[in-house]
Amino acid sequence: MTEKQITRTDLDKLLGFFRERGAVYAPAKDEAGDVALTEVGRAASVVLAYTNFRLSPKAFFFPQNQTLLRFNDGRAEEVGVIDRATVLFGVRPCDARALLALDQVFLDGHQDDPYYAGLRARTTVVALACMRPASSCFCTSVGGGPGDGTGSDVLAVALETDLLLRAQTPKGEELLSFAADLLADAMPAAVKEAQERIRAAENKIAPVEVANSAERLRKAYDSYVWETASQKCLGCGTCSFLCPTCHCFDITDEVRGGTGRRVRTWDCCAYALFTLQASGHNPRPTPKERWRQRIMHKFRYAVENFDRPFCMGCGRCIRNCPVSMDLRTMLKEVGP
């Protein structure tokens, strides 16, 4: 496992160097003042002080609109994924870890999703350890942590003056060796500083009881809490669309005169139409069943199928719910 370091002032140079191979995205402020993953141009002004991006980086792998097929004169044709090497710098560990969950769905080894596979293969993820978790964060309760490198190819840790870079995968090793000339071997002091900083961040995160959620939810399927908790749910898709692991999608055709495309778009289990059948029958007819599905899918079904909750504790759904629903409260309410 290669460990390198570079002074923070040379970060722009490093990202500029990565650009020689393709596209580089790094955190920068947008017009509204929010930090977002932005394509790095010649003059990068990378920001390292941020909690997390408004949108999860899942769209780099599972775009909100993905053309699945083109139709020409009524004939279906495949579309390819543009093979443009891409580096995402500054992804938070929670969002990087979410890629493992998405991998389990889209690359199930049975029928791999070629579009996800293509985008995943072309992208190298450099996670940046999180030094300023928000009060809505609970990554440490769902198996992750502010310095967790799983899901990323390289884990970066911002230190006082330097940036520590630790390869997590062969792809990450390759990226670091590509930039070897710009990097120095990590000093023990840097490694120690990184450890301390990560520990300090960990200590800021309040734990949430999710350890035995699958078991608790199994018992709580018929609980009254679903009815009461879902009363205030508006049935919008904010939580799902911002969630780094939510991956449900719709497929629709956009065709005029035999020409057009079949496109995959994000969808959401909170929508009444999600399961509505042509006959008018809806297996999940009210917000109660739909809200239960969302929680069950994340904390029970995913655990049963993939051995992990499909929640990375990023807190986006908590911060952005228009009526301030909090799934941590929900997990408490389902009982022991």
């Binding site: 495949e78 029928q111 065709v255 079949r262 999600f274 509505l276 599905q293 079904y301």
Partner: protein, 280 residues
Amino acid sequence: MARNPYLPYSARIDEVVVENEARDIKTFRLVFEDPSSAAEFRYLPGQFAELSLPGVGEAPFGIASSPTEADYLLFTIKRMGLFTAELHSLEAGTDIGVRGPMGKPFPWDQMAGKNLLIVGGGFAFTTLRAAIKYILDPANRTQFGSVLVIYGARVPGELMYKEALAEWQARDDIDVHLTVDKADKSWTQHEGVVTTVLQGLKPSPENTLALVCGPPIMIRFALLSLGSLGFADDAIVLSLEMRMKCGIGKCGRCNIGSKYVCKDGPVFTYQELRALPAEY
């Protein structure tokens, strides 16, 4: 490289047969444009496929033909929503896409050596037709014990596959009972719901598997009847319908509990279903 799972095989509608008096159920016979597709498309009764029309979309349908009918695929489809309305307007000769086969078939391994009870209602009889065809194929028939079929519809005009039914009733290696909720003057067979016939015939649960497909209300009563006849939950095989999009366990639409109807089903034993939330 593996085939893109979103890319349908090109096929052509070869023939359209109206199955019922109301004319809202039709059987579409599909022929692959490229014979090699037919070779790739290996399936067993109980599986389904997504039919695809450019600009309209896709929808999943149980395959009504048996792989023993080598040259074509059959889909029997009721006009219901957006896709099926469009499909019903199509004539023989139209191009259509087929994506699949998808899902798990009936448990053929388990069914070998057993007596089979096949209970169907209404237009859900499609994959059961496929199963019967498959069972009756000379190469397969000896693998199974007795075969008892009970098939019901509201009125005689709603029974599908009339020719095949007549042919099966003429054979002595299968016992086919037809029933209608409401008989007309020409009807000479059972009158009453499927469960009444089932209760009357009292098939033995001994070494027997039951395949049950029908409308929810029929399923509910058939399960009660089978239970009272002594059929164990794991000896009853059912097939679910859910709204689907991808058909390959990714889009999340057909998720029920920890199962995806598209890849873990659509065929489940009653025992498996009981372990799932009743969200179907």
